[in-house]
């Protein structure tokens, strides 16, 4: 990443500690114009601190942050050319909607006559132009969210930061706004960093997702790559759902994993060199199939159905095998078993991901 030209935002080996706790560790990424990146992870993973360092609320202990090729670590927030939408929106309670939206322009010393038309334009963009004379406290969460977005966009920032902006909204509204906000930002080609702990939100909105854990980026990739080819055990566990089989590498020509519920084949890239080591074998629900005692699948196991969940076109079933492993399977409605039934599950080893010490083999 020596060449920083062409990137709207570039972080290089950024680290930050609070006292003895290292909350962000060696974080690097670069965003091209218009790209939408989600920082995804559980609370305490360092995603919010990373965002705060980009915004200028915290200073990194080491590493560099560049916005449009200009180093910003030493600049205060107001000189970084950033727009930001906060969790719970942080609209100024003593100002009208119009004053909230126009705040950034007023701080930049623009005259009232210049501010008013731009406030109207950006308010129309996020569909709050009928609310300009109102006070924020009179408005719904969705409306406040739109106003917060307008306040961030009016200054035409180089990058936009979104800090869990949909968290306080109810489900239907949240999904509608996600679609609307994403298409608006795509149209405006605004480079965006989005912090969330909600994987569905990250998967549906992002060009790329940085999955964070313990202050580090575990993997940064497109939603599809994260789902289909997780680089670490944590990513596999955090993105989507699936089943982990823990065990040891078995001997023999073809690699296998010995687990308390049986011995199963592993994909060929797991070499004999890892023989004897502890492994995690991970299976997505789509890779597991209902079969029977004589089924053709190379790996088979029998268990009893513990629960079923209606998913619309399909049914998700939970199968307990010998009370020690829980398999998640998705089946067609017409083939769905009942709770308590004994079923056979089968899978192809090529659909399994294998992790040793948390890393993908």
């Amino acid at each position: 990443m020596a060449n920083s030209a062409g990137y709207d935002l570039q972080l290089d080996s950024v680290s930050k500690s609070f006292g003895p706790v290292r909350v962000v560790s060696d974080v690097s990424f670069a965003l091209s114009k218009g790209e939408f990146l989600a920082l995804l992870g559980p609370s305490g993973c360092g995603k919010t601190t990373t965002l705060s360092m980009v915004a200028g609320f915290e200073r990194p202990d080491s590493g560099s942050i560049a916005i449009r090729a200009k180093r910003v670590e030493a600049l205060p927030p107001e000189r970084r050319d950033i727009g930001m939408v906060f969790q719970n929106y942080a609209l100024f309670p003593h100002m009208s909607v119009a004053a909230n939206i126009g705040f950034g322009l007023k701080m930049r010393g623009l005259a009232k006559a210049e501010i008013e038309p731009r406030v109207r334009d950006v308010a129309a963009l996020v569909k709050v132009d009928h609310l300009l004379a109102r006070q924020p406290r009179e408005l719904s969460g969705g409306q406040q969210q739109r106003i917060a977005l307008a306040r961030a966009l009016i200054v035409e920032p180089a990058i936009l930061l979104l800090d869990e902006p949909f968290g306080a909204l109810d489900r239907q509204l949240r999904e509608d706004l996600q679609v609307e906000v994403r298409s608006l930002l795509r149209r405006l080609e605004i480079t965006t960093v989005f912090v969330t702990h909600d994987q569905d939100e990250a998967l549906s909105m992002s060009d790329r997702i940085a999955v964070m854990s313990g202050g580090r980026i575990e993997q940064i990739a497109s939603p599809r790559t994260l789902y289909e080819a997780p680089a670490t055990r944590n990513v596999a566990a955090f993105i989507g759902k699936g089943t982990f089989l823990a065990g040891h590498v078995g001997g023999g020509d073809a690699p296998t994993i010995k687990t308390p519920i049986g011995e199963f084949r592993l994909p060929p890239q797991v070499k004999a060199a890892q023989s004897g080591g502890e492994l995690d074998c991970f299976l997505r629900p789509e890779g597991i199939h209902l079969t029977d005692a004589t089924g053709a699948w190379p790996n088979r196991v029998a268990g009893s159905v513990a629960a079923t969940t209606f998913l619309g076109d399909r049914q998700q079933i939970v199968v307990d095998v010998q009370d020690s492993v829980r398999f998640l399977v998705k089946v067609e409605q017409s083939r769905a078993p009942r709770v308590g039934d004994t079923v056979w599950l089968g899978w192809d080893e090529k659909d399994a991901a294998v992790f040793q010490d948390g890393q993908r083999l």
Partner: protein, 259 residues
């Protein structure tokens, strides 16, 4: 409309009587035309309300008290706001040293503080003046403004200031356009408390007043030692009315904007 329970009515009546009773007595006495305080009053007249304005000491003391009250609460506010900002930010020095230090006037008996100030000014050779009283009252004004301002400030979501800064406000603009409007009602409440404390203060003023810089409570106190005329009651009623006027004005300033 909410129903008020009988118990609540009795409670309110008891508190009301407790608060208003002494004031009612003083007010009744102030209209007594006689030469001595008596209760019940011997008649009704505005005699003492007229005569008090020809008492030079009382008039001077009223003027002085207004100046001292306004000046000390204003200066105290100017000192307390930045201190509150620093303490709310949570630095170790601000929280562990500055905060207890500025609150210490709450813990020192005012009589002792007044005496200490007298010694201090005599050691420094500074003659007592309105200025020395203003300084003394400023010190006791600070904790009132500080406590209330800090309570409001700590209640303010930190994202307000962050939102202001990221939108382009420098630290001063963030204070001027976001923090100050948010804490205004608290600041005004604290400042009006500080004014009342100054306006009614005897223990500190007692040691710092001379014939020239005498304040109203000290003047009333001195007057009562030598006289037993109802004029002192009339002056007291005027003092109460002045405080009421100040409170009405500050309530208007401190009201949160609506609409």
């Amino acid at each position: 409309m909410q129903r008020t329970s009988a118990l609540m009515r009795i409670y309110a009546a008891a508190i009301g009587v407790l608060l208003i009773f002494p004031l009612a007595i003083v007010t009744a006495v102030s209209f007594d035309p006689g030469a001595y305080i008596a209760f019940p009053p011997s008649g009704f007249s505005f005699r003492w309300y007229v005569e008090m304005w020809s008492n030079e000491t009382i008039v001077l003391a009223m003027k002085n008290s207004l100046i001292v009250g306004i000046a000390s609460s204003a200066i105290g506010t100017v000192i307390a706001i930045p201190a509150a900002l620093a303490i709310a930010r949570g630095g170790a020095f601000a929280e562990k040293v500055l905060y207890p230090f500025l609150l210490s006037p709450f813990t020192i008996p005012w009589l002792v503080y007044g005496l200490a100030l007298l010694f201090f000014w005599s050691v420094t050779g500074q003659p007592l003046s309105l200025g020395t009283i203003v300084l003394g009252h400023t010190v006791i004004a600070i904790p009132y403004v500080l406590r209330i301002t800090l309570a409001v400030l700590r209640d303010m979501p930190p994202n307000y200031v962050r939102a202001a800064r990221i939108s382009g406000a420098n630290p001063w603009q963030a204070f001027r356009y976001v923090i100050l409007p948010y804490i205004r009602s608290g600041v005004v409440a604290g400042a009006s408390f500080a004014f009342i404390v100054s306006f009614t203060n005897i223990p500190v003023s007692l040691f710092l007043t001379t014939a020239d810089n005498i304040t109203l409570p000290v003047a009333i106190f001195n007057y009562m030692i030598n006289n037993f005329e109802p004029m002192v009651a009339a002056v007291s009623v005027v003092q109460v009315l002045m405080i009421v006027v100040i409170l009405l004005i500050t309530r208007k300033i401190g009201a949160v904007e609506r609409g």
